[in-house]
Symmetry: C2
Subunit: 367 residues, 2 copies
């Protein structure tokens, strides 16, 4: 059975469906969403996903009467370029996609971002359906309509907001996901618990393991996904275009981003760096008496249970400080930290004393 | 004095200001629109416009405290490419444009389209202000938020809807516009009269000449601009994303597009082809008893007064018919015509008998 969560926005709303073997019911979902049976569809996916699921999805959709063509792109960060967008646009042209046509993204965050931006900019915007197959994309990239392309000057500098018409999350597709990527996705899930969902924290704490899909009972995983998606959806509904609230999604990202940058993006996965960033943000919150050592140790236990790194890497203090200053999350020269204050609650602070950050970094770098 | 027209949309509204020497008041208008005084601005313009107006605008804005950098791009149709978008994005990066920053398009339709799309896709959308300097851009491209980039497979296949924060129309900038381009713009103005504005038709019929900026009294020209902008704004307000109503803007474009295509886009300017398309559409409307010969001759007189072509070129009938079938405005194999039915009134017909089109073409091609 598919569970559904509705994401309501000012100008449009869409459904996020979660359920095992969901991809075998994509056709019915599209028909329920009023897509016509002879719809032209371009399915964008990556090689790792096409073999286990893509071919099946294409056949399934064709059996329902849809006209489907697939395009396979590479899923790495290095594919987040205008050249990839151009390849998708070329395929859209060959497939004669019209205003009422559809692009489906089947894959992780890169596939979702690229297909989403291509859909946003083809014929001034056609429909996109997100079918995320990585844990991170399921709870983050596929929801909220953010698309992004890298510019030589920085990540995601090019992009647009383009909400999907439907998001379909099929947890069974996680079985082919490498464990390390599963764990990295779990970091963002823990983040959702801390910033907005005591219920999610409860489920995470109840679970014997969080480190791989096989070790989590199917129902438990579905609950965890549902609460994560609800948390993200709630934040997007309240702040569709990243006015201010959506900034709390950056919990763990301020120092996490520093770790990623100073290790040249080749040592830690994004989620692993976020885990380190959450621990550091928790420590700062403790120092400011915003949050308790007890809460901080509960956070650490979850991160540990997810098999994520706990120990801050040895990085030159000066580099960390100057990298912090250059972060996108800096406003008017002040570093913005999202800091936890309770179960499912955070505040944004841009007046954390520099000495406190230095003190913390000295302490944790030495661990 | 600046006249203003408000374009109200579901999620945002903006002001269209019209007035002589308006560009010397752009700074105040920006401040009135709540842009901050130390705002970072990228001004995108073309060489033909930069010399007479661009430098002055840059100095004016700098004198108001804005941080302005300009980028000069070529204004021809062949510049409507992803490479041009990339150049604007590179300049946006160098100028450190942030979420709250601004791009200003100072030029004709190509500059407006390129700067608009670059703004739509930089940091997922930053503000754009349109300052059109051609007659066509003043009454058409600058209003309504449509941006477009050409794809090797066709014109404007890539793009997005991105409404400007402000449109500033300064008729004095028309004095450097080549007369032929002025006349081509006038074709779209006549179109607005026919599809939606009896008041505009009245002003056009009252004017002794419509063929160049010098021959039209300044107040008359401003009235013509105002009624044109109002007509376009009204249609955009009722149909922001080209659902259906906005299709009436294609009046004259069905057969006009055929003329452009079959003469390889190198014989007629867009507006000239639209003039021919309007005459042909008027003839069809007469044959269907939708509109009178008297109205048709009034339309012809306006087109003649604007110095626009009246005689359909010699084109092979078969090519015309097959080109009509391939037009974007075809839906399910049926050619859509926008046909006039009265003063300021049109209908959309997709059941014009093929024989009638053939008959008409045989007749007018022989003239």
């Amino acid at each position: 059975m598919l569970q559904t969560i509705n994401l309501g926005l000012k100008t449009n709303s869409y459904c996020i469906a979660i359920g095992d073997r969901g991809i075998s019911r994509l056709g019915e979902l599209l028909i329920a969403e009023k897509f016509k049976k002879d719809l032209k569809i371009l399915l964008v996916t990556n090689p790792e996903v096409f073999l286990p699921y893509g071919e099946e999805v294409v056949k399934h959709l064709q059996s329902k009467g849809f006209q489907v063509r697939s395009l396979i792109i590479e899923a790495g960060e290095e594919s987040k370029t205008q050249e990839t967008i151009q390849r998708i646009h070329d395929a859209a042209f060959v497939q004669h996609l019209e205003r009422g046509s559809l692009i489906i993204a089947l894959g992780g965050g890169v596939v979702g971002d690229m297909a989403g931006f291509a859909a946003a900019t083809w014929l001034r915007g056609i429909s996109i359906v997100q079918v995320p197959t990585t844990l991170l994309a399921m709870v983050d990239a596929a929801i909220g309509g953010k698309t992004g392309v890298n510019h030589p000057g920085g990540k995601n500098l090019i992009g647009s907001f383009h909400q999907p018409s439907l998001v379909l999350i099929d947890p069974t597709t996680l079985k082919t996901l490498p464990s390390r990527e599963f764990r990295a996705g779990m970091a963002e899930i823990i983040k959702y618990g801390i910033i907005g969902s005591p219920a999610l924290l409860y489920h995470l704490e109840q679970s014997d393991s969080l480190s791989s899909q096989e070790n989590i009972p199917s129902d438990s995983l579905k609950s965890i996904l549902k609460y994560s998606v609800q948390t993200k959806a709630q934040i997007v509904m309240e702040d569709e275009r990243e006015g201010s609230l959506r900034a709390i999604l950056n919990y763990g990202h301020t120092l996490g981003h520093v770790v990623e940058t100073l290790t040249n993006y080749n040592t830690y996965l994004h989620g692993e760096a976020v885990a380190l960033g959450m621990i550091a943000a928790g420590e700062i919150a403790c120092m400011l008496n915003l949050w308790t050592q007890d809460m901080q140790s509960r956070q650490k236990k979850l991160i540990e249970k997810a098999g994520l790194p706990l120990v801050w890497p040895k990085l030159p203090l000066n580099s960390v400080l100057s990298c912090l200053q250059g972060d996108k999350k800096v406003q008017e020269g002040k570093v913005r930290f999202v800091l936890p204050t309770g179960l499912g609650k955070v505040v944004i602070k841009n007046d954390v004393p520099k000495e406190m950050i230095t003190h913390l970094l000295n302490r944790i770098s030495g661990e």
